[in-house]
């Protein structure tokens, strides 16, 4: 039993990869859906059991193919990795379930199998990035995820999508180039690719190679920063996320930009280690970009006209919070980075799916046209409201928990002024989310001609959204447990 449960990480990657290539062979659409959902449920349940196992027994290392570390590839599974793995599988399951009812309205019918292939490949590679303990293996998965992500953007073949995908591809390749160079630097110093071995070698040989280490750090930071939408390098994100079909947007925003950050955290703390890191100002750089992202992401979001673009820019701001948390450099900050990854993944997927639902039911795109939508689609706007409140940081909801603990973390690290940034960015969040909600529900002239429940979708089709939002509230409500669980496996 013990040994078989340790197979879960590898098994979920393999199952996803294999089924990815079976899916396009199926002719009937319903078969595709059934197989895809079945596989996703299977993988999610596996990962849930795995998290429970980890909760009782702690983390472990897993040698793929029984080759030990310097030669074979090793997976490192701890509390953080297993939790993120479960999160990714769960969100993907919900998004796929939701797309069951809306996908054929957004993309051509013969692309549906293809979409699932790409999605499964994407998820498998993201899980790979999260689980791996081998730096080069992580890079390979990173490349796979980039290509698959381009695929799910361009699966709806409009002009805007192709443009966005090319932009993403080019910038992403630049990022990958930097990561590869970083790996080359690290390899040249240490002669290893497995994270633990590199760490030992770096600690022993650090003298005199300070500059080389620093250069490699910056290469990793910028390279993974592009993929993780670090503020000035976020330019690919709004185009890609707003033009893609809504399920793709949800996956892109909730999962794809999160995995590189986990990888970055792993590189910081498992490859270099807290000691080397403390001697540099790289974390201050990350903090600086995080702050910029928090403020400017929200400012840009405020000036958007299209709903999905606004939500995409809000992602930039939220990624700013995560970089902010990493940049604080203390334990609580790092825990909150992981917690915010979880919180943002569930919240943002809710936002994108409900926004997609508005767009699909009304045919409109801009924010102005969604006035009074609360009368026509009260439940969906309710879910949107709940998630928006979480983004703004209303207590109990996960967004508040992150902000509160981030405030605690910044006090802990002695940077009181950062509180102002946190409060200002919350205020900015409120500035662009509240008008949508208020105009959606209230106002006499907004509601003229709107018929109650006229555009509501059957509850059956809203179920995945409702489950997601319930999970979101639970993530906030039981934040104590989650934070404690993450704290057990955090790398400091």
């Amino acid at each position: 039993m013990q040994n078989s449960i340790k197979l879960v990480p590898l098994a979920s990657i393999m199952v996803l990869m294999l089924s990815a290539f079976i899916l396009p062979l199926l002719k009937k659409k319903s078969h595709v859906y059934r197989l895809a959902l079945g596989m996703m449920v299977f993988v999610t349940v596996l990962n849930l059991m795995h998290v429970i196992y980890i909760a009782f027994n702690g983390g472990y290392l897993f040698d793929v193919g029984h080759f030990p570390a310097p030669f074979g590839i090793v997976l490192r599974i701890g509390e953080v990795e297993s939790a993120i793995g479960l999160l990714f599988c769960f969100v993907n399951l919900m998004v796929l379930w939701y797309s069951y009812f809306s996908l054929e309205k957004e993309i051509k019918e013969n692309r549906i199998g293809f979409f699932h292939t790409l999605d499964f490949l994407l998820l498998a590679s993201l899980l790979g990035i999260v689980f791996t303990y081998d730096i080069f293996n992580g890079f390979v998965f990173l490349e796979v995820s980039t290509l698959a992500a381009c695929g799910i953007i361009v699966v709806k073949d409009k002009k805007a999508n192709i443009k966005a995908a090319i932009k993403y591809l080019i910038l992403s390749s630049l990022g990958s180039g930097l990561v590869l160079m970083g790996i080359a630097f690290v390899y040249s110093i240490s002669g290893h690719l497995s994270m633990s071995f590199i760490h030992e070698a770096l600690v022993q040989n650090a003298d005199g190679k300070h500059n080389l280490i620093l250069i490699s750090m910056i290469l990793f930071t910028v390279g993974l920063g592009i993929k993780g939408a670090m503020f000035p390098l976020h330019i690919w994100l709004p185009d890609a996320h707003s033009s893609a079909p809504s399920p793709s947007s949800a996956i892109l925003s909730a999962l794809v930009i999160k995995a590189p950050i986990i990888f970055l955290i792993k590189i910081y703390y498992l490859v270099y280690g807290a000691q080397i890191l403390a001697g540099t100002v790289v974390l201050d750089l990350v903090l600086f970009f995080g702050i910029l992202g928090m403020i400017f992401g929200s400012l840009f979001a405020r000036s958007q006209k299209e709903l999905k673009r606004m939500i995409a820019y809000s992602s930039v701001a939220q990624m700013g919070y995560i970089f902010f948390a990493i940049g604080l450099g203390n334990k609580l900050g790092l825990i909150m980075a992981v917690y915010h990854i979880i919180a943002h993944a569930v919240t943002k997927s809710c936002l994108f799916l409900s926004a997609g639902s508005f767009i699909e039911q009304t045919g409109f795109k801009t924010i102005d046209e969604f006035k009074g939508i609360g009368k026509e689609m009260p439940v969906t706007l309710g879910i949107f409201t709940l998630s928006a409140l979480s983004m703004i940081g209303i207590p109990i909801l996960p967004g508040f928990i992150s902000k509160w603990n981030l405030a605690m973390a910044s006090i802990e690290s002695g940077k009181i002024l950062l509180l102002v940034v946190l409060i200002v960015s919350s205020l900015l969040n409120a500035v662009y989310y509240f008008p949508i909600i208020i105009n959606g529900y209230f106002g006499e002239d907004n509601l003229v001609g709107k018929v109650f429940n006229s555009k509501i979708r059957p509850v059956r089709t809203l179920l995945p959204l409702i489950i997601l939002s319930v999970i979101m509230v639970l993530v906030g409500l039981f934040s104590g447990f989650i934070i404690e669980f993450i704290g057990r496996g955090i790398y400091i």
């Binding site: 000035p232 330019i235 540099t280 106002g443 934040s479 104590g480």
Partner: protein, 683 residues
């Protein structure tokens, strides 16, 4: 689980269950809500024996991030009790009041949510819990304020929400600072560390109090109050004034007494603000014609009395036990008579749809029950002997005298006179209201509408009127536990106070006399215009200086303009330097080509050189004329235009190009270089 948790959870669940029932059957929902609030009231009452001896606390770990820490002592119990009672009565009253309104289900949903949040505010011992519930209360009560959804209520709602959110953020900042310096979130723990901190404690206390002061409508943060009270449906106005206002005062007491350990400068500040509130509120109330506005400004004026009480607690320090119990009693009393008055107003509004004193004068002349209940409320508010207001005002007066005897400072002697005159103002505006509605004769309303005054609306008013008289006649029933509480939390023992002494009655009569004089000499002569059909009041304060529109808005607008100007300046400057840089680079890279065009002009084919400069459209015009001259002219023209087309186009182009792929790559390069520079320069 604990009774405290049940008390907190019950209305929260009730909100959702009630909403669900309401979608099926409204009658059942009304019944459900009444039963629920009654159960809640009973739960609160059964808590009393336990509280009477000592405070009870309960901790729910792992919820809301920091855990939920509940505590009920006598102060909190008093607030809980008036909330439970007020909600029970207003629920009963609402069932009749709301019959003609729409969106009733939504109303009750937020009504009960606000209830839960208010209960939470009064039970929290952890400051972040308190903040959470306080903000939640602001948001849920916003839905009550804008319930009518007309232009006026939206405007009021905007003002209400904006101030609540601003207050919340300021308060949060204060809480952060407090946590930074004390390392704890429990109010009691904070109270042990905070007073020893030095000057930073004033910053913390003022920041935290800012949010509470907004809710308590302390000058100059009262601007939302008259609008919100007038816009909200009457049961909500009653709660806003009766209970939600008290959350603000409650918070100020918590900060001053439990966190700051009776700090003198803050206490004096509160005391002075209280005086300002009494007079500003009182004078504005005299001017108004809308009865809800009169009562709203009266709330502001009464807040002043309570603030004076809180200030006295701080000034007297260890001997402020009497002032504290007087303030708590004042808060209880104010809830009772203010809710009663709002309910009376609501009945008039429900029947006539009109609130202006000129149009409804004489409405209540022959409606005996309504008149009697309203009169009891007015007498309570005016502190007439035998009614509850008299008790609390006498005690407060006693506390002012105590402060004078303790310090022998003439400031307190002077403020004592102000206190009595302030009471006179109360009498004056209530007299104006009562005489106009219930004493004037207006044959239009004789014998009409009597059947519209339902029992369901009168019963709650009757209960409140009974309580007002009860407290007035047996003040010790409620005063004894309050005094015991004050002594229990470390105040010196309080010598027995005689409430009905000849002195206190004389002071009360002085207030009354001043009130009647103001009414006769000022209101009747200056504010009342006689004409053929009778007469009408007018409101001279309409053109007065308004803090909101004349101070807050222009300041905010100015700030906004200054910032946007600065930002556009920076923006333009950036673009300008970018343009100069780009032009510079361009001119450097163009050096050869330009000179070669000039020099070897004749050898360059005409078409090619024109294409080079993008002059294709001018080709035809140039055909017949000598080439060299014309092209030089055209080049010049192009250059001039290039300079004059200047920034504006550049900005537009710049924005559209900002996100193009090639620019992205540039940006990427810049970021990489920046990162290296940053790390090497800073490290």
């Amino acid at each position: 689980m604990n009774t405290l948790v049940y008390i907190l959870i019950l209305p929260l669940l009730g909100a959702f269950i009630g909403y669900y029932i309401g979608t099926k059957n409204e009658m059942k929902r009304d019944l459900f809500n009444i039963v629920l609030t009654a159960i809640e009231l009973l739960l609160v009452i059964t808590l009393f024996p336990a509280i009477n001896d000592q405070a009870i606390e309960y901790m729910v770990p792992n919820v809301m991030g920091t855990g939920l820490h509940l505590k009920v002592d006598m102060l909190r119990y008093a607030m809980l009790f008036i909330s439970a009672l007020a909600w029970f009565l207003t629920t009963m009253y609402s069932t009749q009041y709301l019959i003609k309104k729409k969106n009733r289900n939504r109303y009750y949903f937020f009504f009960m949510l606000t209830y839960a949040m208010t209960i939470g505010v009064f039970m929290s011992e952890n400051i972040i819990n308190l903040f959470t519930f306080f903000e939640g209360m602001s948001l849920t009560s916003y839905a009550l304020v804008i319930h009518d959804e007309d232009k006026y209520s939206h405007e009021a709602g905007k003002s209400y929400l904006a101030m609540a959110i601003a207050g919340g953020l300021v308060m949060l900042f204060g809480i952060f600072l407090a946590f930074d310096y004390t390392g704890t979130l429990d109010i009691e723990e904070m109270g042990k560390i905070l007073p020893n901190l030095g000057d930073i404690k004033y910053v913390i206390a003022l920041l935290i109090m800012f949010g509470f002061m907004i809710k308590a409508s302390v000058f100059p943060l009262h601007t939302w109050l008259p609008k919100a009270y007038t816009a909200a449906p009457t049961p909500s106005s009653a709660l806003l004034s009766g209970i939600l206002l008290k959350t603000g005062l409650f918070g100020i007491i918590i900060v001053l007494v439990e966190m700051m350990n009776y700090d003198m400068p803050i206490a004096v500040l509160l005391y002075c603000l209280g005086l300002v509130n009494i007079f500003l509120g009182g004078i504005l109330a005299m001017m108004q014609r809308n009865i809800k506005r009169i009562i709203a400004y009266s709330s502001m004026s009464q807040t002043g009395f309570m603030l004076m009480g809180i200030g006295l607690v701080g000034i007297l320090g260890k001997e402020g036990g009497l002032a504290l119990s007087a303030t708590i009693l004042y808060m209880i009393n104010h809830a009772f008579f203010k809710i009663l008055l709002f309910m009376g107003t609501g009945i008039i509004y429900m029947i006539l749809g009109e609130l202006s004193i000129n149009k409804i004068s004489g409405f209540g002349h022959k409606k005996q029950k309504l008149k009697a209940f309203f009169l009891i409320g007015v007498l309570g508010l005016c502190a007439f002997p035998g009614f509850n207001g008299f008790v609390s005002k006498t005690l407060l007066h006693e506390a002012i005298l105590e402060a004078y005897h303790l310090t022998h400072h003439h400031f307190f002697k002077i403020t004592e006179y102000f206190f009595i005159i302030g009471g006179g103002l109360t009498v004056a505006y209530m007299l104006k209201l009562f005489v106009a509605i219930f004493m004037e004769k207006n044959s239009d309303f004789y014998g009409k509408y009597n059947e519209l005054v339902h029992k369901r609306a009168l019963i709650p008013m009757g209960i409140l009127a009974g309580l007002i008289v009860f407290i007035g006649v047996f003040p010790n029933a409620i005063l004894t536990p309050l005094i015991r509480y004050a002594e229990g939390i470390g105040f010196d023992a309080i010598s027995h106070v005689v409430i009905y002494s000849s002195e206190s009655v004389i002071y009360s009569m002085m207030s009354l006399l001043i009130g009647v004089l103001i009414y006769q000499l000022f209101i009747q002569r200056k504010l009342y215009v006689k004409n053929k059909t009778g007469g009408a009041y007018f409101n001279p304060s309409l053109g007065w200086f308004s803090i909101e529109t004349d101070l807050f808005e222009p300041v905010l607008k100015m700030l906004y303009k200054v910032f946007s100007f600065l930002f556009t300046l920076i923006d333009n400057w950036l673009l300008f330097t970018a343009k100069i840089l780009a032009d510079g680079i361009k001119s450097i890279s163009n050096v050869d080509i330009v000179t070669s065009i000039d020099r070897e002009f004749k050898s360059v084919p005409l078409g090619a050189s024109m294409m080079l400069k993008g002059l294709k459209s001018k080709k035809d015009a140039l055909k017949n004329i000598e080439a060299k001259v014309k092209i030089n002219e055209a080049l010049e023209l192009d250059l001039v235009q290039g300079q004059t087309s200047k920034l504006k186009e550049l900005i537009v182009k710049g924005h559209s190009k900002m996100t193009s792929i090639s620019n992205s790559i540039f940006l990427f390069g810049i970021v990489v270089v920046f990162c290296f520079l940053f790390v090497y320069v800073m490290g």
